[in-house]
């Protein structure tokens, strides 16, 4: 396929992104640049100064809702991309409702508990729908430890052991790597 053919196909697709932090904001930007037509993004949080070490926001956006800031940033990259921004804290019911019409859904939460909620809720509500998750992205280095695990319609990326903590903060390169891998796996699912 040529570049134009790829972009024409992706323009008709809708991708859900659960969370607009390090994974979600960077994944959304990669998908927008790829030409995905519609992004449905949900996050309850606001941009903080500390978020700028890895998330796709700017200093003058501190205090804004992340989903609003993300919609603005994507509009500056490509106004043809539609961003459906939902400022809310997702739970099992809202996950299933919000992403029901998406061609693929990205897990971009921080807490492991929320990641499991995503998997439990959407495997049940949207069987067979491509779901892309991340686990184990903290710290720096060892990029060769990143793996892709496939279990039917569910795909996971990460090293599956580096947990964020006081000594292992999330840092831009590994978070960005995981976000880019999630976006890449979404394209793979959309272009089959």
């Amino acid at each position: 396929m040529t570049r134009d053919e790829y972009r024409r196909r992706l323009a008709g697709k809708t991708v859900g992104i659960a969370g607009a932090g390090g994974l979600g904001s960077n994944c959304a930007v990669a998908l927008a640049r790829s030409g995905v037509g519609t992004l449905v993004v949900a996050d309850h949080d606001r941009v903080s100064r500390d978020n700028l070490d890895r998330q796709a926001y700017f200093l003058d956006q501190v205090g804004m809702l992340k989903v609003e800031a993300l919609a603005l940033n994507i509009a500056r990259i490509d106004p043809a991309v539609r961003v459906e921004a939902h400022a809310l804290r997702l739970d099992a019911a809202s996950l299933a409702a919000l992403f029901a019409d998406c061609d693929a859904v990205v897990e971009a939460f921080d807490a492991a508990e929320a990641k499991l909620m995503f998997v439990e809720a959407l495997l049940e509500a949207l069987p067979g729908r491509p779901l892309v998750c991340a686990s184990g992205i903290a710290g720096y280095g060892r990029p060769e430890s990143f793996r892709v695990r496939r279990s039917g319609s569910l795909v996971l990326v990460g090293d599956f052991e580096s947990e964020v903590g006081p000594e292992t903060p999330p840092m831009a390169p590994r978070v960005g790597l995981a976000a880019a891998m999630e976006a890449d796996l979404v394209l793979e699912a959309l272009l089959i």
């Binding site: 969370g19 932090g21 390090g22 994974l23 979600g24 971009a108 939460f109 921080d110 807490a111 492991a112 508990e113 990641k115 499991l116 998997v119 439990e120 495997l123 049940e124 991340a134 686990s135 184990g136 992205i137 903290a138 695990r149 279990s151 039917g152 569910l154 996971l156 990460g158 599956f160 052991e161 580096s162 947990e163 964020v164 999330p170 978070v175």
Partner: protein, 67 residues
């Protein structure tokens, strides 16, 4: 007993009859896991009741925080 774990066949001791026993045998120690047996998600809290049989296809993934 032969069971497929994350795409590879593993020989498990006879009597590894539940998901819980498999997780203990293979030393999965992280508190949060995704476990699927033949494509079906096993709810957390149901590992001790979820039966395991010869030839089952099991996927187990650690979930750790960070995003």
């Amino acid at each position: 007993m032969k069971v497929k774990v994350n795409g590879e066949f593993r020989e498990l001791p006879e009597g590894t009859a539940t998901v819980r026993a498999l997780l203990d045998e293979l030393r999965y120690s992280f508190p949060l896991l995704i476990v699927r047996v033949n494509g079906s998600l096993v709810e957390r809290g149901a590992y001790s009741q979820a039966p395991l049989s010869e030839g089952d296809d099991v996927d187990v993934y650690h979930l750790v925080s960070g995003g």
